[in-house]
Every structure is written in structure tokens, then in C-alpha cells.
């Protein structure tokens, strides 16, 4: 169920470096917190260029009345992780009471968990919850290298041989076809990670013929195939041109320029912020899960909340008519 978000004051209790460029923060939340399950997320009010914005992070278990997150400092941060990295013990932030849209079903005979990079945050909680209940679990954790991986010791302790690590620096990758084939008919796969990994998992699952309902994933919409660049967009019928810098979304640039837009999820899932591409002189970096692979290849539309142009300029139609 989706409920109105409930904001609370929280104070940073601790900041720990848990992997290279990854910090774990623990917050004391004013007024306590209801219990939350693995896969839950919280929203944090961050300051970007002096203006407030909202970023979403997975909640890690942290004890009664506490919330914890693990954040990776992105090279091309839109400002969210940069802000989080300025926080120290004693500082105050606003957070929301956790909600969960990435729940374990507790119905599968066996669980396959796949984590890529900082996508390990919800998967870590799931592995612990499943192991605690004695469920059959296999986890595959891929990142640039071992130094970039938080939580490995804890996960090894609860999963033992059922945890496999993969460093892309060493050229090791998960054999998706084999891992999926090893699942029983009622097995489920939970994945969280970069868009490229997610697309590969979705394709492998589709190729296996297994029911789509047994593949679960969560998206935050904050990464894509290409690095972020500045690009320009002309809005049809509005006589407005916006310049979208690397640390801003097209949707934010449009609304800041006074263009009326509708949107909902802001993570590339619902499709409401989609715009028509009338013409473009560069490739579209689709970062959503709303459009199909076919639709992304055609690039006739794009989700403005997460997707970008690799560079250059486009003319878009937001549906405004005179």
C-alpha cells in the first residue's frame, strides 16, 4: 500500500567507511520508528546548491528507533551523495518513515539474490532475513573490485558457500543462465544493481521462460549506460530551451524553467513524465524500466525524470497545444 509520506527529524549517530567511496550512516529518529522489513526505503531531504531536494535510499537494520543507509559517492553525483558525504555525527536531517516496495514474498522454495555495486543494500537485508528463517538462498555479489564491496564479512557469515563474489576488474561475471536454470520451478530471483546488469538479468529470465512474476527488482533510476553530459532541449510550442547539466534531470530542468509537467514515481517506472522526441542529434540514454527494449531502440519517447541525451540537442513535445 502506498501511504502519504511521514517526515521525521533524525540525527546522525555515526558515519563509517564500509568500502571504498561507500559510507554507512546511522540515524537516531525522533519519536521512534515502526519495524521495517528488508527492501524498505526512506527519503532524505538533501541540499543541492542551496536548494532542498529529495533522495531515496534503502534502509539497513539498525536497532530500535534507528535507521541506517549505505551511500556510494558517485563521481558525477547530481548532488545527493555529495551532500550525504558532508554529514557527520550530531547533524540533523529530515527522513521519511520507511516504506517497502521491494518485499520478499516468502513463498519460494529457493531464492536467488543478485547484487551489483551499491545495489547490495536491499539484497543484504534480504539475505539476512532469509538466512534467519532457514530459507534456501544463493547470493551473487558483483562490483568493480573487492574493496568496493561493503558487508562481505557479515554476508559470508550468514551464507557461507552460498555467497559468490565477482570483481569486474578481474573480468569475473555471474553466469546468469546457469544460476537461473539451477532454480526450482517455484524459485524467485531478486536483483538490484546498475541498469545494465538489470537488463541482462531481465533478458536471461525472459529467455528461461520462467514466469515474469517470480523476478523481482527495484529501481532508483540514477544510472545508465553513458556518463552524464550537458545537453539542450527545445520545448515544442513553448518557445523555451533548457540546458540540462550533468547533475540535473531533464524533468527538473523543465519544471525549473516553468514548464508544467505531470510525473509520479521519479524513478523511471510509471511513464507519466514521458515526452515525445521530435528530433535529436545525439543518442538517448534511456534509464527507465517503463519503455520496452523495442521502444528504447526507436527512441520516439523518453522518460524525462531519469533519461538523458548523451550530448547535443533535441526538440521535445510535452503535449502542450495552443
Amino acid at each position: 500500500m502506498k501511504n502519504l509520506v511521514e517526515w521525521r527529524k533524525a540525527r546522525v549517530a555515526s558515519v563509517t567507511e564500509v568500502a571504498s567511496d561507500v559510507r554507512r550512516l546511522v540515524f537516531d529518529v525522533e519519536g521512534g520508528l515502526p519495524a521495517f522489513d528488508a527492501g524498505s526505503h526512506t527519503n532524505i531531504r538533501v541540499m543541492i546548491g542551496g536548494k532542498p531536494a529529495i533522495r531515496t535510499y534503502t534502509c539497513l537494520p539498525a536497532g530500535p528507533g534507528r535507521l541506517s543507509i549505505a551511500v556510494k559517492l558517485h563521481e558525477q553525483s547530481r548532488g545527493g551523495s555529495k551532500y550525504i558525504f558532508t554529514l557527520g555525527p550530531g547533524m540533523d536531517v529530515d527522513i521519511t518513515v520507511p516504506e517497502n516496495r521491494f518485499e520478499l514474498s516468502w513463498r519460494a522454495g529457493e531464492y536467488l539474490l543478485i547484487a551489483g555495486g551499491i545495489g547490495v543494500t536491499p539484497i543484504y537485508g534480504m539475505a539476512k532475513a532469509l538466512a534467519r528463517q532457514g530459507a534456501k538462498v544463493r547470493m551473487h555479489y558483483a562490483a568493480k573490485n573487492r574493496a568496493a564491496m561493503p558487508f562481505v564479512d557479515e554476508l559470508s557469515e550468514v551464507l557461507g558457500d552460498n555467497l559468490s563474489l565477482y570483481s569486474s576488474d578481474d573480468g569475473r561475471h555471474v553466469d546468469l543462465e546457469r544460476e537461473i536454470a539451477a532454480l526450482p520451478a517455484d524459485g524467485e530471483l531478486y536483483v538490484c544493481g546498475p541498469l545494465g546488469m538489470l537488463e541482462a538479468v531481465k533478458a536471461a529470465w525472459a529467455a528461461s521462460g520462467r514466469p515474469v512474476s517470480r523476478l523481482r527488482y527495484e529501481v532508483f533510476g540514477d544510472n545508465g549506460k553513458f556518463a552524464e553530459n550537458t545537453f539542450q532541449v527545445d520545448v515544442l510550442n513553448r518557445n523555451i530551451t533548457v540546458t540540462v547539466p550533468p547533475d540535473k534531470t531533464l524533468l527538473a530542468a523543465l519544471t525549473d524553467a516553468g514548464v508544467d509537467m505531470i510525473y509520479d514515481c521519479q524513478r523511471g517506472e510509471c511513464g507519466l513524465c514521458a515526452v515525445d522526441i521530435v528530433e535529436a542529434d545525439a543518442d538517448v540514454d534511456h534509464r527507465d524500466v517503463f519503455f520496452s527494449e523495442e521502444e528504447k531502440r526507436e527512441s520516439r519517447k523518453m522518460c524525462s525524470c531519469v533519461s538523458r541525451l548523451t550530448e547535443g540537442r533535441a526538440v521535445i513535445d510535452i503535449g502542450y497545444r495552443t
Binding site: A35, P211, R216, C265, C270, V289, F290
Partner: protein
Amino acid sequence: MTGQTFPLNAWYAAAYDVEVGRSLLSRKICNKPLVLYRKESGEAVALADACWHRLVPLSGGELNGDNVICPYHGLEYDDSGRCVYMPSQETINPSACVKSYPIVEKHRLIWIWPGNPALADPAKVPDLHWNDDPEWAADGKHIHAKCDYRLVVDNLMDLTHETFVHGSSIGNRAVAEAPFETTHTDREAKVTRWMVDIEAPPFWAAQLGRKDHVDRWQIINFEAPSTIVIEVGIAPTGTGAPEGDRSKGVEGRVLNTMTPETDTTCHYFWAFARNYDLKNQARTHQLREGVSSVFREDEAILEAQQKAIEENPDHVFYNLNIDSGSMWARRLIDRMIDEEQAVRVAAE
């Protein structure tokens, strides 16, 4: 205490096997609206009866194979509650799902677990095996009672009411006058009454087929939160029943499991099982209908009681000696609720 009157981490009967089939049954359990149906394989499913999109009850929609289609925009959900179709787009929003409740079909009942699904252990389904056992002949019904489920527990934990509520059927003075013993464990309570060397009440004389003096027993077994198995029967006096040998007599089990619908209404599933004259289908039918009309006498009392409680919200019941069984039952229910809430608070 938050005023919760039932624990969520428990198996509750949602329906009799025959109530669920290849159509959508809407039923509320523990304040949660559910839609129940069977897959083509016969396996039962319980989903939350509210579409992820705009909360329209799925029970107003239709079945498509093993999936449910919402009547409003046609979103389709499979038995795990995941959306597998949504209109006017080529992909499915990965957040789209409704809750699918852990479900077990056992003892001719369909049980669901409304609490934390991680804790739903099928081994914890209450033991009502007499309802589906070759050594017993059993049948029963589902009653929708307009009362707090705990009033039904009270009613079953003390059978002195038989003498008065059911005086024209199964009651006689012996029950109201006989002494009894109450024992309890951490999860169960038991009230035992033996009436030794009494005249057989008409109902039992008819079951035994003779009118000798008999030893009669009533042993009420309560398991928290809401399942009660009552051992009843008679044996000719002097054949050793009080000492443990009931073989010369006839035995029944009154099976009862109550499920909160809301805080003031409940679903009551019962059956009467017997260990004699097993192949006599007519007797099974008559017993079921007979018990049914006996229970209608109880329903009238319980609904009147519920109304009075609502009109007197601050009133606390007085208790008599005969209420020891129901006091233990309520104590054990409250303990389950407290334990559940303590776990939640610890995690906060």
C-alpha cells in the same frame, strides 16, 4: 496496549473447503479484505481485495486461468499477487503487486496467516484432524456471527449454558450441577467435567442406542488464539471411561475455530465428528443439522451480548467460578498479542 483484540501471527480459518472454488469469494479476515479462489490445479489463493492501482475490490472482477482481473482497468494479478498485465504500455511497473497471504488447506478448512509472512509455519495450523479422518465421520458449517470472536470463545469454554440455552436439546441439569477442573499451559487451557453414573440425556441416549445409566464427559480443549476442540461422549457406567477406557461408549468431537472478521464480528467454523456408525450418511446429515439449530440458540445470545457491550463501552464483566476456562483463554490470547507487540516495539 493498543486495543488490538486478536494476534496477527496465527493461522485463522478463512473458509470451508466447499466455499472456495473457481469464482471470486470476498471475505474480511482480521479487518483485512481478502479475495479467495482456486487455481485450475485446485490450490487455494488469498489475495488482498484491493487493486494496487486505485483500490477497487478485485473480487468484483473475474478469473482468467489462475489470475484475477481487476474490474476497473483490467490489471491482472497472479497467485503471488504480482501484476502480470497492465493496459496501454508494453512493460509492467515492477512495483505493482497486491499482498498474497500464506495459505494452507487442512482439515477441510482454508487457513490464512494475516501477520508476518516470514513466520507462517504450516506446522502451526491447529489440529482439527477429526474433520477429515477415516476413523471419524464429520461435517459442519460456517456461521457469520455478529459478535467479537472472543464471545464465541467464552461460550464454548463454559458449557453450563447448555442446561439453559439448549435445555430443549442437549442440555440437562447434570451439566450445571457437575463440578469441573480447569488446567492451563502456555498456549492451551482445558476444562474437564465428568458426570458419573447419571441418566443419559435424550440426545446421547439416542446416539448410544440404549438408556442405561452412563458416565458422561465434556473436555474443552482451547488453543490460543481461537480453536476449541470439545471431547464429548458417554459410556455405560462401570465400563472404565473415567479411568481412560472409552471403548464401550460413543465419542464425539465438537470442532470450533473462530476467525475475527472485524473487531465486532467473526467467522465461526464448526463441525461435529463421531467415531461410531461411520458409514451412516443420514446420521451425519442429521447431526450436522441438529448441531446447527443448537448453535442458532447461541447466536441469539451472543448477538444480544455484543449489542449490550457496545452500549456499555466502559463496562468490565463480572466473573463467576464457571468462567475460569474463558478467563484463561482470554489471558492466553492477550499474552499472544503482548508478545507480538513486544517484538514490534523492540524493532522500533
